[in-house]
């Protein structure tokens, strides 16, 4: 028994060591760890319709590949934080971020630039939605009656599902959500926020207006049970952010060419992936209000 055991252990150890040391380029099933330096990789925050992300963004990869004449790949990620981390680690060089994740990414990667945003993004907005049992009716002014209800945000790192709603709640009611509401949850994403408020599990929630409108049009929302009670003032949201060091790998005018390719995207099928009606140029300054808000809400530390 002893000899066999020792043999087994030795064999397993050797196997493990060789497999690690042979970790040179070879077959791999995980994305992005064996990319040759010249493949341009991008990602997007998984904000909605996650199951079709790959399909939607593969088409964008094909488009960029044709426009830029380089290898382009899309890798899917599972959370806002993962998108930022991949960007920081240079596993992706370009990402379709939300307002907040973009600001976080650009702080972590000095030199990176917001290069383009959707036509709708300068005037993005969130909906506050409520279950019919809450008895709160739609109004133009902030619904102070949500005080004391149960409330769910979307993902902790979401601009439209967390940051901006929290900001407007604090501004209008003068206190933090955990003091104002009887319970505060984080559903994880917009679709689930809608499902949870529609089921009455939470009485009130905050959601990205685009996701709501899309699901409403698709007939997935029962207006007798859940409705929009308030629309926040507008704020800048999604944008394409590019690492600052891309020109070193893909040529001195790469950032310009990429920006042109993004802004020039006019195929409705491609634009539906985002969903946006078109793209316009953007810069980091446009997102200063998001950064200030994130600092005031305490999601980002001031300074640095």
């Amino acid at each position: 028994m002893r000899i066999q055991l020792l043999r087994n252990i030795t064999a397993l150890t050797l196997l493990f060591i060789t497999s690690i040391s042979s970790a040179s380029p070879s077959v791999s099933n995980t994305p992005a760890d064996t990319e040759s330096a010249k493949t341009f990789v991008f990602s997007a925050i998984p904000d909605q319709d996650e199951a079709n992300l790959q399909e939607r963004f593969d088409k964008v990869a094909v488009y960029l590949q044709a426009q830029l004449d380089i290898d382009v790949r899309y890798i899917p990620v599972k959370s806002y934080a993962a998108a930022v981390t991949a960007f920081r680690n240079n596993q992706v060089q370009l990402a379709w971020f939300g307002g907040l994740s973009g600001v976080q990414a650009r702080r972590l990667v000095p030199g990176s630039q917001a290069v383009a945003q959707g036509t709708e993004d300068p005037f993005f907005t969130s909906y506050i939605i409520a279950h019919s049992s809450s008895g709160i009716e739609p109004n133009d002014s902030f619904p102070a009656a949500i005080t004391g209800k149960t409330f769910t945000f979307g993902s902790k790192g979401s601009t439209s599902g967390r940051l901006m709603p929290e900001f407007f709640i604090r501004e209008n009611l003068g206190d933090t959500p955990d003091k104002l509401f009887s319970k505060v949850g984080y559903s994880g994403d917009h679709s689930r926020t809608i499902a949870l408020v529609q089921s009455g599990a939470y009485q009130v929630g905050a959601v990205n207006y685009k996701v709501w409108d899309k699901q409403l049009a698709a007939g997935k929302i029962d207006s007798d049970k859940v409705k929009v009670i308030w629309r926040t003032p507008s704020y800048p949201d999604y944008q394409w952010t590019l690492r600052g060091d891309v020109n070193d790998s893909w040529g001195p005018d790469f950032q310009t060419r990429l920006t042109e390719a993004l802004v020039g995207m006019d195929d409705p099928d491609l634009l539906a992936s985002f969903p946006r009606s078109g793209f316009i140029a953007a810069d980091n300054k446009l997102y200063q209000p998001i950064l200030d808000t994130a600092i005031s809400v305490g999601i980002i530390d001031a300074g640095k």
């Binding site: 028994m1 002893r2 055991l5 064999a11 397993l12 150890t13 196997l15 493990f16 497999s19 690690i20 042979s22 970790a23 070879s26 077959v27 791999s28 099933n29 995980t30 994305p31 992005a32 760890d33 064996t34 998984p46 909605q48 319709d49 199951a51 990620v77 599972k78 934080a81 993962a82 930022v84 981390t85 991949a86 680690n89 596993q91 976080q104 049992s133 149960t150 769910t152 993902s155 902790k156 319970k183 505060v184 949850g185 984080y186 559903s187 994880g188 679709s191 689930r192 499902a195 949870l196 529609q198 089921s199 009455g200 599990a201 939470y202 009485q203 049970k225 999601i299 980002i300 530390d301």
Partner: protein
């Protein structure tokens, strides 16, 4: 609790400890929020039910590759963990080693994955280490305690004057512990498959990736397909994962998914020298009064806002869930015992039900509970209790098979309370104390319920890229787990509970 004395191993000690655990859970119940806010869960639940009945695979290649990845991470992880755990177990009598093992296993797989992702990215190495490290801690504990518990007679018979510790270990200790080690390791392998699937929640390409995606989009038919695939993988393990084929599978998984990552040293250096350094200390060359003051304020604010409330919630939720787990395990155990279900097919159904319950991710159970009961601690208790209760119930059910009862023993309820329960009670407590720290660790992933456990704050810290805060909170939760582990170890020794029955 009465002081342990000469009759500490008698039934009264067991009664005492059970009584105090139940009382503590009842006291905790008074402190937590258990509101039921009823609403209209049925629309969503009927969608879920319809999905469960009509699984649909949207892409077979995706399903199969994520299935293979799930298996590969699990097998690689457990193999590495078994080797490392064995090495650590050799030093298990040293408090420092025990504390180290308790530390590495007290961090949830998801958090290990998130930590490694900062350095090694979304790579196969990240997945392997996220499983191997906490599992090494767990296996070291099991192996170590098995070594302590083997019959000392063979070792005592060795000549005293020429002791050779190594030979002694290999000839008198290891052979006696070997079978239990193998059985327990194979049981942990099933857990590793679940862990591997769950790693998909943070982005590794396993079943959980697509399962979570489908669930969050409300695509319940697709979710069902991925869930059934996971169930099938776990349910059929005994049919195709034979000991003799293990080397073949090992070579296959290391070939299929070689652990690799492109680690940027720059990132590693930044992570260690900057990211995890407490914010007020960053960029400070000299430690002066002001810096110390800043660090104190930083820590005090964290203590007030996150550490203390997180600790309280974690302990309360953990304690209630632990006792609920125990009760449920006692209710569920007949489902997997031939003493109570005589027919094979009935037992087959019972066994499958338990496998189903323990395979359902707690996260999904919590979501269903949230829909039905509204946000409170109740769905969390149910989710943790059902999952862990099914695991212990299954183990206990199998353990009852080994009991030797009189031929004319009673049946049904009398058999349960007068014959079986007294005989398995020690084992039951041993299993329950084992799950204690696991339950505490699992409280981490219930943030959807808005329950601010330590894990909730750790997750928030990762989301906001405050790795210094994340690390501090991880250290706090590790300290909590180590304390609980020490306490459970003390109880185990006082009550003379055995770790794993040789027969299991």
């Amino acid at each position: 609790m009465s002081a342990p004395n000469s009759n500490k191993t008698s039934a009264s000690a067991l009664r005492n400890i059970s009584f105090w655990f139940a009382v503590s859970a009842l006291l905790c119940l008074l402190l937590v929020d258990l509101d039921i806010s009823t609403a209209d869960p049925w629309a969503e639940l009927s969608l879920m039910a319809a999905g469960a009945l009509s699984p649909s695979v949207w892409s077979w290649p995706t399903l199969l590759s994520s299935l293979a990845n799930t298996f590969a991470f699990a097998l690689q992880g457990v193999t590495l963990a078994a080797i490392a755990g064995f090495a650590l177990a050799l030093g298990y009598r040293f408090t420092l080693v025990r504390a180290f093992c308790a530390f590495i296993r007290s961090i949830h797989e998801l958090f290990w994955a998130l930590l490694f992702m900062q350095i090694a990215g979304l790579s196969s190495l990240t997945g392997l280490l996220a499983i191997a490290i906490p599992y090494a801690g767990t296996l070291a504990k099991i192996y170590g305690e098995l070594f302590e518990e083997v019959d000392p007679a063979p070792a005592n018979n060795l000549p005293v004057n020429k002791r050779r510790p190594l030979s002694e270990f290999f000839y008198s200790t290891l052979p006696l512990a070997w079978r239990s080690m193998a059985t327990y390791t194979s049981y942990r392998f099933e857990c590793a498959i679940r862990s591997s699937a769950i790693l998909g929640f943070v982005g590794l390409p396993t079943l959980g990736f697509h399962l979570e995606t489908a669930l969050s989009d409300g695509q319940y038919s697709e979710a069902a397909a991925f869930f059934y695939a996971l169930l099938l993988l776990i349910g059929t393990l005994h049919l195709w994962l034979h000991k003799r084929l293990l080397p073949v599978y090992l070579v296959a998984v290391f070939y299929y998914l070689p652990p690799q990552a492109t680690i940027s040293w720059q990132l590693l250096v930044r992570f260690v020298s900057e990211d995890i350094v407490p914010a007020p200390l960053r960029g400070q060359t000299l430690v002066n009064a002001e810096t110390v003051n800043n660090v104190n304020q930083w820590f005090y604010a964290l203590w007030q806002l996150q550490i203390w409330p997180g600790l309280i919630n974690t302990v309360l939720l953990g304690q209630i869930s632990l006792v609920f787990t125990g009760l449920l395990a006692l209710v569920l155990l007949p489902l997997n015992s031939s003493l109570f279900l005589h027919r094979r097919w009935k037992r087959g159904i019972g066994d499958s039900l338990l496998i189903l319950l323990r395979t359902l991710p707690e996260y999904l159970l919590a979501f269903i509970g949230l829909l039905i009961l509204g946000p409170s601690m109740l769905p969390a208790i149910l989710a943790l209790g059902i999952h862990n209760g099914a695991i212990i119930g299954h183990l206990l059910g199998r353990y009852t098979e080994e009991l030797c009862l009189r031929a004319d023993a009673d049946r049904g309820i009398t058999l349960y309370f007068y014959e079986v329960l007294p005989r398995i009670y020690r084992q039951f407590l041993a299993f329950l104390f084992y799950r204690w720290e696991v339950i505490l660790r699992e409280t981490a992933i219930l943030g959807i319920l808005g329950i601010a456990t330590l894990g909730f704050y750790i997750d928030s810290a990762f989301e906001t890229f405050r790795f210094d805060v994340a690390l501090l909170l991880i250290l706090v939760s590790a300290a909590l787990n180590i304390s609980v582990d020490q306490f459970a170890r003390y109880l185990r020794q006082q009550l003379q509970l055995k770790t794993v029955p040789e027969s299991l």
